[in-house]
Symmetry: C2
Subunit: 484 residues, 2 copies
């Protein structure tokens, strides 16, 4: 492709002749890797006019660069970066800047350094990736997603694609969520009680900002979703971790003074335990006694293949006390970045204002595509197919773990896409993960899920949403072999 | 379409027989508008199994509902919502909830109530929309955008579409921005100095969070972009508004104690004034003296059709003192929600961590589509075509304003897509906008752009990015007529 003429600037106080400056700009572009072999330079006429110099100056610069093999001339079609031009260095080019800003002082608030583990971005290159939350290309209905996206790109949807919705959402997606998605969870909500978010991450973040401040106390489950813990830590609220048992969060253990209770009743993260109906009622009663709010992260309810999904905690809530966070990241794909919040209109109004300030709205095209995919029934078919595959994988992984005498801690009664495994006391699964990585196996160490000083190191999560059933036995064998 | 069986739940402590409960669920679904005429009910067998009741109970409920004309039976194909079923009320259905939460207490932080004006979402239905920042379907290259999106939906891009990038971005978009977009602004940056954001709004928000806190002072231009003012107000930093003159922000007027200076040198918002090179250098020198940072919002540099775009302030910065915010919202479309931040790696690291906490990353599909559109040269062609059309419109609107004796305040020397108009002292453009709206003309009142107590009411912004040149004269005539 052609290098645009706008790339070139003369610096008024630069050293050297104009010709030398032009040569230097071109050479630096090539050496820094910005101009690549075979790319066409601007014509001498265009560059001369752009820089306000004579054409002969540019021609002399180009000729000199040609002699040095930076450029090659192809007759009337102009000058190109030579195929034998010097290679840009593999290391980063030295900056001409001499930065004087003291960033240790200039940064007003720090956000790096959370506990959320960084998973390798090249996970797909591992043969046995027991990782969580990525999309399996063998299960996802890519063809129909593509068709829905193409429909959403059509001329009748021009406004849905391009418009600035300000603080609003795609009305078609909101309508589908209200009429179909939420009623399946037993929830009835009006459009002003629903906000589309950039995935569940964004839903939890918005909720935290609206409900908490440094004088308020948030209850979190331990172990819990590490990203939630990072979000809460950044909000500088008070944190009250409550250990979960075999039925999820125990209401009696929630301390006095709790303002907001974060919970994952459908599938506790990371143990996959489902909270029974009795406990859900008890939790609501406890929240009422404390005059606390509940944030229900209903991730993964769609993967209920062992028993039907139980209605959401929100469906039992007559007080308006439960704020519900849903996501399409697990059931569709995480790169979609679409989720939703459901709560009282007063709450949604504040979350909407904050979302508008932070990012305005999730892209209209993604919203409209999701609305089509849902409405045409592809979503339901996908969920059925996924649940079936996950069920098979679950049976295999449980059998293999049992075969090797490994312990599943926290039995999921409804399904899910991961198992939580307890290994021998004192074992460090972070080290284990490193060892296994060299043997083509990825696992997730459990320590970051725990809140508090004495976090055990001998747990790990094995996701099975991105590994085929027939690869599970060898993967678990390698895990078991690394333990001996 | 079929009503999914999962929509139905039996409440354990509900009143009445099972049959009555089922009837009620169906009737409520119809009356609330969730089940619509012609939609198929679950089969009696499926619903019975789902609810754990006998099939005869479901059959009796359906028969009763049929007698009441809620349902109709179509022989072996099942039960459908009757075409003469009761209509859902046009008003919202009464909630069974009795909300007890005191939201005035439960909300920990408020975000609503900003000064950013809400523009009518039905602006496209007005014949003379002098509004700013929406996309003109006659200019945007929808066909090629669609082709790029379809390419980005292809099988080879499956990972780019679906993957959870965690805190990272699409490497192809980052590469294009680094190699092509930024060099046109005179900026050389490494990939770790670039972060993709959800539009310029998100870029400014992230910057504010990282750089400011309640003990720091932000300088803003007055008048200024109202959304920036809202963002800064929510950050609870100290605000120092500095009035702009005919060359933009005057460096000498920046007070001692300034920590971060927000400026729009390419086109001042809302006056469209371009800051000359000398003043840019003076501004950098002033920032160095104060040891302050500068946030350069380089929106709309692409619409330079009167004179070539001058290099960005960032290109003159050798200290690392300038943070650069770019956007594709104006040059492509706002619904894309893509922009970018450029700054020192230390700063970008914190902004990246915050973005990951708030929303993880902008959707991969939008990033990849933009990368293709840019790389294939459609973007440059679009910008040229847009600039040409804007130039024509600009000549028309200036001529019409002059014809009616109206004053353009703040002459843009480079281009832009709006004019800033000063009307007679004491006139209230908010009232004027209301009057004009009834006459099919939309304008933007100027008061929200000003910071401080004595904001003048007699300014307005007339955008011309969404109105055809041939409609401008009549629109301006109506504006002038409303003034007499």
């Amino acid at each position: 492709m052609a290098i645009p003429v706008e790339t070139f600037f003369l610096t008024p106080d630069a050293q050297g002749t104009l010709q030398a400056q032009i040569q230097q700009m071109v050479a630096e572009g090539i050496l820094s890797g910005r101009f690549q072999r075979g790319e066409r330079l601007p014509s001498t006429r265009a560059l001369a006019r752009h820089l306000g110099v004579s054409r002969i100056t540019v021609t002399l610069s180009y000729t000199e660069l040609q002699a040095n093999d930076y450029l090659t001339s192809r007759g009337r079609s102009g000058y190109y970066v030579s195929d034998s031009a010097p290679e840009p260095p593999a290391f980063s080019t030295p900056q001409k800047r001499h930065e004087t800003v003291d960033w240790s002082r200039a940064i007003g608030q720090r956000f790096s350094g959370g506990v959320t583990p960084r998973r390798p971005s090249d996970w797909a290159r591992y043969r046995y990736p027991f990782i969580y939350g990525q999309t399996d290309p063998t299960l996802f209905d890519h063809a129909n997603w593509r068709l829905c996206a193409i429909q959403a790109l059509g001329v009748p949807n021009f406004r849905a694609l391009t418009t600035d919705y300000y603080d609003q959402d795609d009305p078609e997606l909101i309508e589908f969520i209200a009429r179909h998605t939420l009623p399946r969870r037993g929830i009835i909500a009006n459009p002003d009680e629903i906000l589309v978010t950039m995935g569940a991450q964004n839903a939890l973040w918005l909720t935290t900002q609206v409900l908490l401040n440094p004088r308020r106390t948030a209850v979190i489950e331990t172990p819990c979703y590490p990203a939630l813990r990072d979000i809460l830590t950044l909000s500088r609220c008070r944190l009250a971790p409550v250990p979960v048992d075999g039925q999820g969060l125990p209401p009696d253990a929630i301390p006095q003074g709790a303002d907001v209770i974060f919970t994952t009743p459908s599938h506790h993260c990371p143990t996959s335990v489902t909270m029974p109906l009795d406990r859900r009622r008890a939790l609501l009663a406890r929240a009422r006694d404390l005059d606390a709010l509940i944030v229900e992260d209903d991730y993964e309810f769609e993967t209920a293949y062992l028993a039907p999904a139980s209605p959401a905690l929100k469906s039992l809530d007559t007080d308006g006390r439960v704020i519900y966070a849903g996501s399409f990241s697990k059931s569709l794909f995480p790169g979609l970045r679409l989720g939703y919040l459901v709560g009282s209109a007063e709450f949604i109004q504040e979350a909407r204002a904050l979302r508008a300030s932070v990012l305005r709205h999730p892209p209209g095209h993604m919203q409209r595509t999701a609305a089509y995919f849902l409405r045409l029934g592809h979503y339901d078919a996908l969920i059925k197919r996924t649940a079936k595959a996950l069920h098979t994988r679950r049976l295999v992984i449980e059998a293999e773990l049992a075969h090797h005498g490994l312990t599943v801690a926290g039995q999921s009664t409804h399904g899910g896409s991961s198992v939580w495994v307890k290994l021998a006391a004192g074992l460090d699964t972070a080290q284990l993960a490193e060892t296994l990585r060299l043997r083509d196996v990825l696992i997730e160490p459990g320590q970051p899920f725990f809140v508090g000083a004495d976090a055990p190191t001998n747990f790990c999560r094995l996701g099975y949403s991105s590994i085929q059933a027939d690869l599970i036995p060898e993967g678990i064998s390698r895990l078991a072999a690394a333990l001996t």
